[in-house]
């Protein structure tokens, strides 16, 4: 399988696993390992051992950590005061049969109480290492320690999205309550988009001093000007990108506050009808705003087109009239190449190449006359005949000016009138809500509604800033492209300095290509993620007529829409939310291009009936190309699931020793 597989996990004095290893076996081409364990046996501890090894933290800590120290309780019991005892967990991962990576976390614990009833310990001397062994033996094994080892965690199991690798199926329905802002960054990191970005930036850093040197040594003033221009645009873009990011974050905060206010207002029953009206008018205004933006675009295009057409109209008209008159008078000769006529006159050819007539002296005399009779050259004639139809078309277009202008004016009037009408209705509703007082309610409707309106205005202003900044950013990017092309031409003019010039050329190519690849991947990722999430979600859910599509916004927040175009995300059932979380997790794995394993505690959570079977089947299918480790209690491993998994997965029961201090049967 081309992907990342956890081959084994080893423990040293770690909780109830003590010292030993678990090897993850596979069966029948499925990379599915099932562990069954009663509650308290060490099911969740296995998941925690992985997260402790990688991130030095455990996802589901017990309420009382002293009850289950990281050091195995049996070892602690037999220890003496001031004993230092090592605890470690190591995880061996195989990356596509190319690399073997061993993540090791070690900690030394010191026993600080001699009282057998309250033995306690402190942790110190913690260390983390990653050892990478190439399986092709072409290079040596390398070990990275502490800070140097962290990039490998980031690349393989980024802590920012640990919930996308190691999670509790029972908690999946709460999955989307968390903030997704780091998801986008992590996806770009896993899919090596950040590496492309770094390669592009490094190429640029190397190119810039070389370009300056080339400009200076070749004394090319034009190239110097272009270099300066590119640098100015790039500086402006950095500042614009920061503004967009800052403003988007601010918009998100404002929207959260609006949502909080709406939740409070939703509790006040008597204003339900008015709030529905308010929502409807606001949606109508948003649609009108879209109409206004489309109108503005259309109007700008109209002005751009007619500013040229109207300026040229009288000349076009005159030229067209002249061509028609000359045609009528026969002053425009047929398209004949005068060189061909000269060849016939000179006797180079004996037959006419068009009609086959024999070229005798009489014909030669006639041809000489034709050549002399030209009042305009053939080239001019061809040109005039050629532009006649496009002139006619442009004249017709120019004469439509008044009609189109009237249509646009009507459209604008209609938008203005509709907007005024909806704004009036909305203002009335807002007035009602602003003045709504009821001593029976704890919610101050008037204050909240007014605050909500202010926040919506503030959000709309911020959105305008984003739109304008994005437009400038795009414009500047195009300017940079043009300047770079011109600079390339200037570089080509340089005589000598070949090595320097070639280096600039190659670095410039690298910089542009890495940027293009990065933009292509980033651009398609959201759409692919949307499509992949929808396909899995649609397959898992038994309802076939309810849901229509999934949309993912620029910040990778996910929304589910029904067939009547309503956003259903907040009203999904727990099972549907679980399915959506699975679909999103699997889509992220698929789209990032990094086939990482999944370790799932209680994979089917509280999902029941037909959805449970569909989910179990979907996960089994996924395990054909991805390692999945599932941790079940015997109850969760129901008959329908066991029928499906018993012959397909590697099944293992985790049990405690008779004294309940150790998990038994480790390798």
């Amino acid at each position: 399988m081309n992907g990342i597989i956890i081959e084994s996990i080893s423990f040293q004095n770690f909780r109830q696993y003590g010292t030993g290893s678990i090897i993850f076996h596979h069966k029948n081409d499925n990379f599915l390992s099932v562990f069954k364990a009663k509650n308290g046996t060490g099911k969740t501890t296995l998941l925690n051992a992985i997260t402790w090894c990688l991130y030095e933290k455990e996802q589901k800590k017990t309420d009382n950590p002293e009850a289950l120290p990281i050091l195995n309780t049996d070892i602690l019991k037999s220890s003496k005061l001031n004993d230092r005892i090592p605890v470690s967990v190591s995880l061996v991962v195989n990356d596509s049969d190319e690399l073997l990576i061993k993540f090791v976390r070690k900690v030394s614990v010191k026993v600080v109480s001699n009282d057998p009833a309250k033995k306690d310990l402190i942790k110190n001397q913690s260390s983390f290492s990653v050892t990478i062994t190439p399986l092709n033996k072409k290079s040596n094994t390398q070990t990275y320690v502490d800070d140097d080892a962290l990039p490998y965690i980031k690349q393989y199991f980024d802590e920012d999205i640990e919930n996308f690798y190691f999670f509790d199926g029972e908690k999946l329905s709460e999955f989307f309550a968390s903030d997704n802002k780091t998801v986008k960054d992590s996806i770009f990191n896993i899919s090596q988009v950040k590496m492309l970005d770094a390669a592009g930036k490094h190429s640029k850093n190397l190119r810039e001093p070389k370009q300056s040197k080339l400009n200076k040594e070749s004394n090319n003033k034009e190239a110097e000007k272009l270099t300066k221009k590119i640098s100015d645009y790039e500086q402006s873009n950095i500042s614009d990108e920061a503004t967009i990011q800052r403003t988007n974050e601010s918009i998100k905060k404002i929207e959260t506050r609006i949502k909080e206010i709406e939740e409070l207002l939703a509790k006040v029953r008597p204003i339900e009808e008015k709030r529905r009206e308010q929502k409807s008018y606001e949606q109508q205004l948003e649609r009108l705003q879209e109409r206004r933006e489309n109108y503005n675009k259309k109007y700008s295009a109209f002005i751009r087109k007619y500013i040229v057409l109207l300026r040229l109209y009288s000349y076009m008209k005159k030229t067209h009239k002249m061509i028609i008159e000359k045609k009528k008078k026969g002053e425009l000769p047929p398209t004949i190449d005068p060189d061909e006529i000269k060849k016939l006159i000179s006797g180079e050819k004996h037959d006419c190449p068009i009609c086959g007539t024999v070229i005798d002296d009489a014909v030669i005399e006639r041809l000489k006359k034709v050549l002399n009779d030209y009042t305009v050259s053939t080239a001019t004639s061809t040109f005039l005949v050629g532009i006649e139809s496009s002139l006619a078309q442009n004249i017709i277009e120019a004469e439509k000016y008044e009609k189109i202008k009237t249509e646009l004016t009507e459209e604008e009037k209609s938008i203005i009138m509709d907007t005024a009408s909806v704004e009036k209705k909305l203002s009335d509703v807002n007035k009602y809500l602003d003045n709504f007082t009821s001593p029976d309610f704890h919610v101050d409707v008037s204050k909240l509604n007014s605050k909500r309106s202010d926040l919506r205005n503030e959000r709309d202003d911020q959105k305008k800033i984003v739109t304008l900044t994005e437009a400038r950013l795009e414009r500047n990017k195009k300017e940079i492209e043009i300047c770079k092309r011109l600079l390339d031409e200037e570089n080509n003019k340089v005589v000598g300095l070949n090595q320097l010039r070639n280096e600039v050329k190659v670095l410039s190519y690298l910089e542009d290509t890495f940027r293009v690849i990065k933009d292509t991947i980033m651009g398609s990722m959201k759409e692919e993620l949307q499509k992949a999430t929808w396909e899995t979600f649609d397959n898992m859910i038994w309802k076939t007529q309810t849901f229509d599509r999934i949309e993912i916004d620029d910040n990778y927040n996910i929304s589910v829409y029904d067939t009547t175009n309503h956003n259903m995300t907040d009203s999904l059932s727990a099972t549907e939310k679980t399915a959506l979380a699975y679909a999103f997790i699997l889509a992220i794995h698929q789209v990032s291009g990094k086939n990482s394993p999944l370790v799932i505690d209680s994979p089917l959570g509280r999902v029941s009936d037909v959805n449970r079977e569909r989910m179990a089947e979907m996960l089994l299918n996924v395990s054909k190309n991805k390692q999945i480790v599932m941790l079940f209690t015997p109850d969760e491993y129901s008959d329908s699931v066991s029928r499906m998994y018993n012959n397909a997965a590697s099944i293992r029961d985790l049990e405690l020793s008779a004294d309940e201090k150790y998990v038994t049967g480790l390798e």
Binding site: A199, N502, E503, L507, T513
Partner: protein, 57 residues
């Protein structure tokens, strides 16, 4: 770590010769390998120019 299949696919789709594609991959590998990118980039680019440019001096 191995360059992702997705990036390899994009590089393969470029309409440039195989030497250019190999150059892009070598630079990405250098990027992935270490912190001394300047020296590595210079080495790879100089070698590429010697092998692929007529006017190299």
């Amino acid at each position: 770590m191995p360059i992702s299949e997705r990036i390899i696919k994009e590089i393969n789709a470029l309409s440039v010769n195989n030497e250019r594609k190999a150059l892009l991959i070598k630079i990405l590998e250098a990027e992935d390998n270490g912190k001394r990118y300047k020296a590595e980039y210079e080495k790879i680019i100089k070698k590429y120019i010697i092998e692929n440019f007529e006017d190299k001096t």
